[in-house]
């Protein structure tokens, strides 16, 4: 038997929480979280535009904080919590951010959208009533070539109102 080239050897293994579910995965040790999510776990909702830490298209939440998954080694994610766009909705319903983005034209080609959604979620988890400038600041690392950002800001603001309304009916 010939030896498998090193890059084909899935010699690393981690267990972590992906979108709330315990997940085991084996992968080649050099792989980034982005690559493992997309290639080894079939979670293709997270995108990439540079794999250099420039565009923000690969953002996911790692322990609740936005990170560029193209710059995170998957081996460093053992035991941690990862949230991707696939995990945003709950009970079969879209997250208010997703609804707002869909209704207000904040997703045009939709390529930057998954990363912006999770980044915005991290913001709202921290700060339920951000100002326009705080929203702008929070997603300043996410490039979007289609929208011109305005619809994105508006959608985040619409989601803020919706989440607040939901909370007040619950309490």
């Amino acid at each position: 038997m010939t030896t498998l080239p090193i890059e084909s050897q899935k010699t690393s293994q981690i267990r972590f929480t992906l979108n709330g579910e315990e997940t085991d995965v084996c992968f080649a040790p050099y792989k980034t979280l982005l690559e493992v999510l997309r290639e080894d776990l079939g979670h293709t909702g997270t995108k990439h535009g540079c794999e250099l830490g420039e565009c923000g298209a690969c953002a996911v939440l790692l322990d609740g904080k936005p990170v560029l998954s193209c710059l995170v080694l998957a081996v460093d994610c053992s035991g941690r919590q990862v949230l991707t766009v696939e995990g945003l909705g709950e009970d079969g319903n879209l997250h208010p951010l997703q609804d707002a983005f869909a209704d207000l034209g904040a997703a045009q080609c939709g390529y930057c959208t998954p990363a912006i959604l999770v980044t915005a979620k991290a913001l709202l988890d921290q700060n339920p009533h951000p100002s326009r400038d705080q929203i702008r600041e929070a997603i300043s690392g996410n490039l979007c070539r289609c929208t011109g950002y305005l619809q994105i800001f508006e959608a985040v603001e619409a989601a803020v109102l919706k989440i607040a309304a939901q909370k007040s009916t619950v309490t």
């Binding site: 995108k47 990439h48 909705g89 080609c109």
Partner: protein
Amino acid sequence: MTPVGARKANGDELRVIGVPRRRVDARAKVTGQTRFADDIFLPRMAHSKLLRSPHPHARIRKIDTSRAAAHPGVYLVLQALCVDRVRHVGDPVAAVIAREELTAFEALDLIDVEYEILTTISSSEEALRTPEPRIHEYGEEGNIHKLVALEFGNVEEGFAEADEIFEDTFFFQGNTHLAIEQHAAVAIKDPDGKLTIWSSTQTPHYLHRALAKVLEMPAAHIRVIATPNGGGFGGKSDPFNHEIVVAKAALMLDRPVKICLTREEVFYCHRGRHPVLMKFKTGVKKDGAITGMHLQTLIDGGAYGSYGVASTFYAGALQTTTYHIPRYRYQGCRTFTNKPPCGPKRGHGTPQPRFGQEVQLDKIAERLKMDPADLRLRIAESSNALTANFFRLGTVNLAECIRRVVKVSGWKEKFRKFPEGRGVGLACSAYLTGAGLPIYWNKMPHSGVQLKFDRSGGVSIFCGATEIGQGSDDVLAGIVAEVLGIDTFDVRLFTGDTDLGPVDLGSYSSRVTLMAGNAALQAAERGRAILRDAVAEKLEVPKERLRFAERRVFDSAAPEKGVTFQEAVCLAEARFGTIGTVGSYTPPLYKGGGVGPLRPIPIPPPLLKWK
């Protein structure tokens, strides 16, 4: 839903078009389920990487791929992408196909290429000064790719009538699309031996033709599926070598082959906005009226043609569409240089001279002591005008647009009122909707739509149109739903697939809503006519009285009398057999007749002497 009150020709309210609603593809996009080309993973899939030239211009003396081919994990090495030489940094020379992307990437280092460095031509001026070595054997002469010279009316007479002549030179430095999605493609040999390729292309039909030509296969045995593009902006309009590579490799290996370009490679693919050096000579009367304009452009095309012939025409075509220019002369010259090729980018060749023209207008306003907004208002071309170069403008209404901008922007209070270093400016632009001619000239429709009416009450749309974020799927669904009185959610779309849908030429030139939209409109109206006949017969109501709305077909005189849309389809199917309709769109030819001679003029030497 709040209807905005727009009306159809028959007085009915529009219920879908113009009403704010969620796009048909929005849910997929906000859940990350839109399948872009690189999101496709297939069993046994191999990965490809391209070896790209490190030199701007070099002859390829020798390529030795034996070491790469012997590397563990490598399935195939393809040579002869650039056959004899490389013309820009990043021009592909060879391709490696391997089990892992990283293996393919590493094996690139094992390909030995011997280059003979050639003179680098790095600007248009240099291209004019350096006819040899020629970057391409085709083109006008030396390193000039394309010359365009057109005169409409006698421009010299116009200059003679002018009170003042303005001559200015401007340079626009070019830029690139930077769609966030990098180009990607996956090809497979179908189980029956034919070829299927998924690609982030804006122009599946042109790719289809290119593949048939390069692979020497009947186009009928090739299926191109344009995946939704993660932004295009023109940058994914050319058929690319990486698409040919994965197609060829998939056929040879009989396994799926994928490629996804790195961001660096996307910059090499480029096809971005051309750098343009331009000279404007404009004659004006004291009141600002333009008496004639002469525009010369020197266009840096980079290393390949792309759609550069069209870009060269476009760079001079639209100067007359904003302001009244009674006489107009255009000379364009596109050169080859050893840089990544330029091509179509939003506005395709027109924003560069638009910038020059608008800056010059500001200078004219300054000299004539006029407010720049007033000057523009005074010379704005009117709706339905026929321009000197035979464009029929349609509903431009530029003057009204300027008036409103001046009003809402607070122009009068702001212009020249800010402290040093800050200011407001006004510039106008216009663009045409769709090109009158396809890239290869023919008389067939530019867009076609097929509709299938199902007994379930659902309607399927088949069309070659390509979703690049602009909303083409939603446009098709909206038009069909509007005509048939159903919801866009009742519509299924099969688009961007050369096997499933009739040809649409592609998502470029702002053409899809006009052309695929009209094709959809025609197909939907034909379908509605069939359904109406069947329902009219059943309900014994004159068919003119039937309305289609809210998933019903009913008597407008007695709205409770009607059938559901689904029942209407069943009635029609029982009456006429399986229901399917088609629609198509071909741009009308303008029949100008006697407006004035179109006088081609020779290129005068001064252009070629530009430094």
